[in-house]
Amino acid sequence: ACGGGGDELEAGEDGLTPLTVMQIPTMDAGPLHLGVEEGFFEEEGLDVEVRIAEAGSAIVPSVVNQESPIGYANAVSDLQAIDQGLDVKFVANCCAVGADPEADTSRIFVLPDSPITDVAGLAGANIAVNSVNNLGDLTIEVALENNGVDTSAIEFTPMNYSDMPAALERGDVDAIWSVEPHRAISESRGFTPLISNFVESFPDTTIGYYITSGAFAEANPEIVAAFQRAMDRANDFATENPDRVRETIVENLQIDPELVDQTNLHVFAPGLDEESVKVIAAAAVEHGMISEEPDYEEIFIRPGE
């Protein structure tokens, strides 16, 4: 099944249609888990199984071959996949950035005794990101440019979030980019935060989406619609019950509860935020991460259509 035709999913004996959804092991996954726990998916006739993958590069092919018909990836990854000609469509919002820098889930840190003391100092710095040519460097560059910093000399070094503090303390990099729960960890280690790069680059913007393949959506429009409806409820529920989000993360991702308490949560909004995709796509083109903006008529599975 290489993405040619869509396989139609069949309901099981219990009347529920089994649906695998792939997620990365980050805190973005809260609403999805809550949706399963609260029965939102079941009520829509879906039996959702959440599977964990390390990164978008493994999730996108599994979405394309419909092994996992729906999956999560950040907007930049999604746009890159589309840019390379993969049959990827946006389905629903996962998580968004607010407008309060203090509440941002993402931050750049330096050592307390670092010669870099302000945002301007980051020009020419070596910054650790989880992967290059992706959401991290894009938001950092945009945020810094918004603050009038020249980013042309910045170097990005890819590594796991968990390896970053050690690299920073050893001086292998000048600054690190931490997202939750690593932001909270960096905070607790006493590193100095310099900038909240999500809020300062794309405030009030959705940055993570659930995606599917066009072929699947065509063959299973009701399932996609059902997923969208359930996901909307889950996002709403998550917004109203931040404590439940933290709980489910503690349970499903096995993160230390005390640490989770110190984390900031994303903004969880229902629907499919097309404007954010356009904003990010424009910036991605500008920063050379995709060759051109996609055809916006083609890439959304609009709810209720």
């Binding site: 993405g3 000609g85 990005f156 070094t157 890819p158």
Partner: protein, 248 residues
């Protein structure tokens, strides 16, 4: 040109032809037509920005592999012949051997920091074990009559190691090195997965996360070619030492 080379060339040409033919009209994004991959290989790796990455990787590979071979043969001969030493270190070796390089990288980073020495450590460690194990087993399986002979003439020490043990384990050590060579390439890539801004692996991982499939195939092609070349090189070395040991 002998039959062997001819057949080998034939095999390579056949494989390329199959690749070419099956990918020719491919619309599958993950399986791009071979000419595009070849373009990437020529333009990026051989003539363009990739050369710097290529050279860095090759240097790490050479250093790491050499360390592994020297240590593997040396320690292997020691451990293979000194029974209590084997007893003492075998479990520790087996423990370390089972840990994936990806899982070792954080520890290696703490030990060595980011950069070349960490990568070389990962490469050398991974390649060390196949050589070591083969040499140890080779020592174990020395023909008894041969050992009796050396003992009955009081051939001991360095001389025995150099003239009796080394040639006897030589085929096994070679087998270990043959296994280690492609492993070295794999570990080069793995070691550049994280904390690195240079190397074939870095290019490969970046291409992969941004779904640049042609670049991924280009890197794969490059790795395959490097493997072939290294293998040819080792074959030549093997024939040379073979002549030294078995004909001289």
């Amino acid at each position: 040109m002998n039959r062997r080379t001819l057949l080998g060339l034939l095999g390579a040409v056949l494989a390329l032809a199959v690749w070419w033919a099956t990918s020719a009209g491919s619309t599958n994004v993950y399986y791009p037509p071979l000419p595009r991959v070849l373009d990437n290989l020529l333009e990026y790796w051989l003539g363009g920005a990739g050369t710097e990455h290529l050279l860095d990787s090759v240097r790490n590979l050479a250093v790491g592999l050499s360390i592994a071979v020297v240590l593997g043969i040396g320690l292997g001969m020691l451990v293979g012949q000194v029974r209590w030493l084997d007893r003492a270190v075998a479990p520790t070796f087996e423990f370390v051997r089972a840990i994936p390089a990806t899982a070792l990288i954080p520890f290696a980073m703490v030990l060595f920091g980011l950069g070349t020495s960490m990568k070389i450590f990962i490469i050398a460690l991974g390649c060390f074990f196949p050589v070591l194990l083969n040499v140890i087993d080779g020592c174990r399986q020395l023909p008894a009559t041969l050992l009796d002979t050396t003992r009955s003439f009081g051939i001991t020490g360095w001389f025995r190691q150099l003239h009796v043990i080394a040639p006897a384990i030589y085929p096994r050590a070679a087998a270990g090195i043959r296994i280690a060579i492609p492993l070295a390439l794999i570990l080069v890539v793995t070691s550049e997965m994280t904390g690195s801004r240079i190397g074939i692996g870095f290019v490969l991982w970046t291409a992969q996360t941004s779904f640049n499939v042609v670049a991924v195939w280009g890197a794969i092609l490059l790795l395959g070619i490097l493997g072939l070349l290294l293998n040819l090189l080792f074959g030549a070395v093997e024939r040379l030492t073979d002549r030294r040991y078995h004909r001289a």
